[in-house]
Subunit: 332 residues, 2 copies
Amino acid sequence: MKKLINQVDRVVRESLEGEALAFPHLVKLNEDPLFLYRADAPRPKVALISGGGSGHEPLHGGYVGRGMLDAACPGEVFTSPVPDQMVEAGKKVHGGKGILFIVKNYTGDVMNFEMAQELLEAEGIPVKSVLVADDVAVENSLYTAGRRGVGGTVFVERIAGAAAEKGADLEEVARIAEKVSQGSRSMGMALSSCTVPAKGSPTFELGDDEMEIGIGIHGEPGRERMKLKSADEITEMLARPVMEDLGLRRGEKVIAMVNGMGGTPLMELFIVYRKLHQILEAEGIAIARSLVGNYITSLEMQGASITLLRADEELLQLWDEPVHTPALRWGV
Amino acid sequence: MKKLINQVDRVVRESLEGEALAFPHLVKLNEDPLFLYRADAPRPKVALISGGGSGHEPLHGGYVGRGMLDAACPGEVFTSPVPDQMVEAGKKVHGGKGILFIVKNYTGDVMNFEMAQELLEAEGIPVKSVLVADDVAVENSLYTAGRRGVGGTVFVERIAGAAAEKGADLEEVARIAEKVSQGSRSMGMALSSCTVPAKGSPTFELGDDEMEIGIGIHGEPGRERMKLKSADEITEMLARPVMEDLGLRRGEKVIAMVNGMGGTPLMELFIVYRKLHQILEAEGIAIARSLVGNYITSLEMQGASITLLRADEELLQLWDEPVHTPALRWGV
């Protein structure tokens, strides 16, 4: 295993320490239990909390800041965080207007966020949850009942975060989050595996000329293992199921993300984006906004995923609101 | 070779097409000769042009936009651009106040930018050049007489770009660029090689437990091949030579970059940043601003580099000026 790490059991903690040192004006680290939270004091706004296994950076810690998350609760690599983290994060960032949990659909995450919700509610703090289950590749998976939550999470965190920042109440922020979650679909592929530090060997093996279509963000099996194809063919194989599942029609607009799995050069992601743009354009669908880069990764895995969100004026206006986090930044 | 590409000879062009499609409000693509330029019309400001071999994305195309470059001229992967690209880019973006070339110190780049400078000057356009040669690892290298130009380039493009955007004249922009170039030092390391598409096999081989310290951004040999060490030890091995060469003293400030080579998870870069922060703090040197991420890469190479820039109030104020490019964005 070749990684820039010190001790396997300190990878997550040291990485978060580094992030907090690099962005002291944006995020602070709570040491015990472990979570990142906004450096500016809680304001009377709905607080957004997400979290999940580490290894998907910049998700979620990179999205803590103005116009996005108030706290991010990291588990060990590819392992759910425990309820205590979300409970303490909730108490820390609650600004008196309730909390929205953004939960990727993995069995452990769902269970632990539910437990945290009950514990916070028992203390009189209103909590709502939105589940993200946008991966069209498979209906059930290794860690999942139902679809896996992947790239759509970035869109939910950004857009619900904008609504909360603008002062929407919990009901309204939850409605927006649900709308984004329902309107997002994703599919990914891998050229190579990743290696979880605690395991020390690759999660799966792929032949020198093979790829896996429909891979999960933990290296879970996808739809099909096949011979490597061209970037244009691969983009077709990812984009079509996403477009069909979303039921996109001529004249509609989307927010599109071409996401790298961690080990893929930006150059290749732009080649995928180019084809995605061509496919959508030919169908009369406009990309109104886009992200191209590493936004939800699987350690050093090589590969890419495509996420599309059906966009209307409400979502686009929220998208354009200022955001200021370690990993996403625009506006004043 | 496992890459998300279509044809080897179309990698650079299709990638640039994708970038222009993804950021139409920021960059436009000139097809022949190939270069990216600012989407907003030339204004009466000093125009900044850089370029070099592709494969280092987001450098340089990702830095075209407000407060940074006016044009970026890409060669094939790890191959210099030709003079015609810089000449035509120069004519396109010249706003009547002259042009500054930002040139990484590689023999081919230096020669081709010099030729372009002569050709533009022959047409009556004033051109100055700044050379970036910040890599302390080796004095001469495979493609270089003198030190290689690496991470300091990002700092030169950003800070000279801010000065130009504020209306400084060519003399002044060149002075600032030179100051940043002189005040920057870098060193990098690799855990793995990269594969140039046209070659199809890894540039070099590293054993399963080996790393290369002092690597160049094209996989050129560095100072030493050795057994893999901990992230903290590696950070020491990169940071100390940089600090010593720069002659940093207690009480000074730096702008610091922990850069990924393309295939390294952000999580690991934060672990390196954490240690860099500790090393500098112990020496009484403050990190005034920082970047952590993929800013100057070597395709899918795994590894990292550290760049430090001696910072004073003049440079920090320029650093904080608004920048709006595909890869760097802050301010209004």
